[in-house]
């Protein structure tokens, strides 16, 4: 294993995060605060408890997932797209570093960033609502698995994208709707039966549900289904990444 190579990529990508530290931290904190003001205080005060969880606390896991998913896809996508775009990718491709090591470096860094942001949001939300975490270890496990698998998705997107528009369009048109419709701000049991069934096709539902279960011990779908879904999703992304490097898809001629 080329550990120095992995570390170099990881450090380089983290450098981007810390160079814009203000933006990296301030923007999730501000948007989280806004969500709490609007959903937690203004609307939440008129909402009944959901499965005996106060609405303000209920949206915390969803809010974290929303940002973690978006940040993972964006950071990993940009991380590999940018060197491709400006041409510095030649160095990575000509270095004695395997595809697996490249993925560990880029995806690892993107996942680290979104986990950090997720934890920052978690801490921020403690200023607005009272809640305790029932399964803290599993909560972290869900956070790690989600960050990694969606960073893999972002990595694939970054390699696939031929321009910035494509790079931005997928998170905007696919990821964000899936998160909003995946029960981030409501329980799917609140939907009519037909839409409940449609929601079961949304992979993000399983993530949000499992993540919320680790907070409050209640979930829309069994936690085993959530774990299975996340592993299937991560496996699928890994398969595509493996195929990309085997064929050189949009990387090598």
């Amino acid at each position: 294993m080329n550990w120095y190579g992995i570390a170099a990529i990881w450090r380089f990508e983290m450098g981007r995060f810390f160079r814009s530290i203000l933006q990296s931290i301030v923007s999730p904190v501000v948007s989280t605060a806004l969500y709490f003001v609007v959903f937690g205080a203004a609307i939440g005060s008129r909402m009944p408890e959901i499965e005996s969880v106060d609405y303000g606390a209920f949206i915390v896991p969803g809010l974290i997932m929303l940002t973690v998913l978006q940040q993972s896809v964006q950071n990993a996508g940009f991380g590999i797209y940018f060197p491709k775009f400006i041409g510095t990718i030649y160095e990575v491709l000509s270095a004695p570093i395997s595809s697996l090591e490249i993925v560990i470096g880029y995806v690892g860094a993107a996942a680290t960033k979104s986990m950090l942001i997720g934890l920052i949001i978690l801490v921020t939300s403690l200023f607005f609502v009272d809640f305790s975490i029932v399964h803290p270890v599993l909560m972290l496990a869900f956070l790690v698995l989600t960050s990694v698998s969606f960073s893999l998705l972002g990595f694939i997107l970054g390699i696939w994208a031929r321009n910035f528009e494509q790079l931005n369009l997928v998170p905007l048109l696919v990821v964000t709707p899936l998160v909003f419709l995946g029960g981030s701000f409501y329980s799917v049991s609140m939907l009519p039966p037909f839409w409940q069934n449609v929601s079961l096709l949304n992979p993000v539902l399983y993530l949000v549900s499992g993540f919320r279960w680790s907070f409050f011990g209640t979930a829309d779908v069994p936690v085993v289904a959530s774990l299975a879904a996340i592993f299937v999703f991560a496996g699928l992304c890994l398969g595509i990444v493996w195929w990309i490097f085997r064929t050189g898809f949009r990387l090598k001629s």
Binding site: A8, F12, G15, S94, I97
Partner: protein
């Protein structure tokens, strides 16, 4: 000299059907400076890219330091430093950290003394804390070279290192290349400046339309293909070349004041004495004689033309 890079019957056809390399065989000797000379689109960059692992060969074998570039890529790539033609740098990175990144990427532990040494060699040390986007074009190109040197390669590929570079910087670059060779680094550079190949290369390869036309010692190439010309100035212009001189294939200059005779510099019998005697016998009076050696440029143009014909 043992060869450090061996290319055997290398072919590369791109997905769009373009045949960039049509069976190139090349041995690069350890410690030499090899210049690959050829017009744009000749296949120089493709050849380098396949050796460095950026492009996959369609057919053929490449080994570096005795290792196959496909099956033992980790070993071969460690030996190679690549300086691409385009100046590609992360705009927000600092000079020193981008060198550290390169070194790590190639699997080497951090070594600040070495990185600083490379920066000093390339006159970039004062700029080590600048962002790459703040540097001038010439400096940015030197940063690219520094990045490649930061992981201590034994073979250095310089793809058009002096394209669009001013004269002074070009001389600096040549001096650097020579210094590196003294340290034992093998250098392969591509160029379409013949002057450059002539100034620094030990051997010259001429590549055109995906084929390596020849690889030869520079001096041997100059000698083998080098032609000399003798220009005979006359006191009185002539209307036509006298019949007595027909066998010499002379060329009459436009105004008729000079006659030009071409001959092989290495030939045992150049025919100069006979020609001059004949000129005198024809009643012409000389005012001056000049000789001129053909440059690599003339040789190159001739080679490429012969191939087309």
């Amino acid at each position: 000299m043992p060869s450090i890079v061996k290319v055997e019957d290398l072919r590369k056809t791109y997905d769009n059907g373009f045949e960039a390399l049509k069976g190139v065989t090349l041995d690069i000797e350890e410690g030499e400076i090899l210049a690959l000379l050829g017009p744009n689109g000749a296949g120089k960059t493709t050849l380098i890219s396949t050796i460095c692992g950026i492009a996959r060969p369609t057919f053929g074998r490449i080994s570096v330091g005795g290792h196959d570039v496909q099956s033992e890529w980790r070993k071969t790539r460690k030996l190679i430093g690549l300086v691409p033609q385009e100046i590609n740098l992360e705009p927000f990175e600092f000079v020193q950290s981008t060198l550290r990144f390169s070194r790590g990427l190639f699997g080497k532990p951090r070594n600040d003394a070495l990185v600083d040494g490379v920066l000093k060699d390339l006159a970039l040390y004062d700029k080590r804390d600048s962002r790459t986007s703040e540097l001038s074009g010439g400096m940015r190109r030197r940063v690219l070279i520094a990045k490649a040197l930061s992981h201590e390669p034994r073979v250095l590929f310089l793809d058009e290192p002096t394209a669009g570079v001013d004269v002074e910087l070009r001389r600096d670059m040549w001096a650097l290349v020579k210094r590196l060779r003294e340290e034992g680094v093998t250098i392969i550079l591509t160029t379409h400046y013949i002057e450059e190949a002539e100034a620094i290369a030990d051997r010259i390869g001429v590549i055109n339309s995906g084929e390596l036309l020849l690889v030869e010692e520079k001096s041997a190439l100059m000698q083998r293909l080098g032609r000399k010309e003798i220009r005979i100035k006359l006191t009185e212009p002539v209307e036509a070349i006298p019949d007595a001189l027909a066998e010499y294939d002379l060329v009459r200059s436009g105004d008729g004041t000079s006659l030009i005779y071409a001959y092989k510099a290495t030939g045992e019998r150049t025919g100069i004495t006979r020609l001059l005697t004949a000129v005198q016998a024809a009643g012409l009076v000389l005012s001056d004689i000049q000789t001129r050696q053909s440059s690599l440029e003339d040789i190159f143009v001739r080679l490429v033309r012969e191939e087309v014909a």
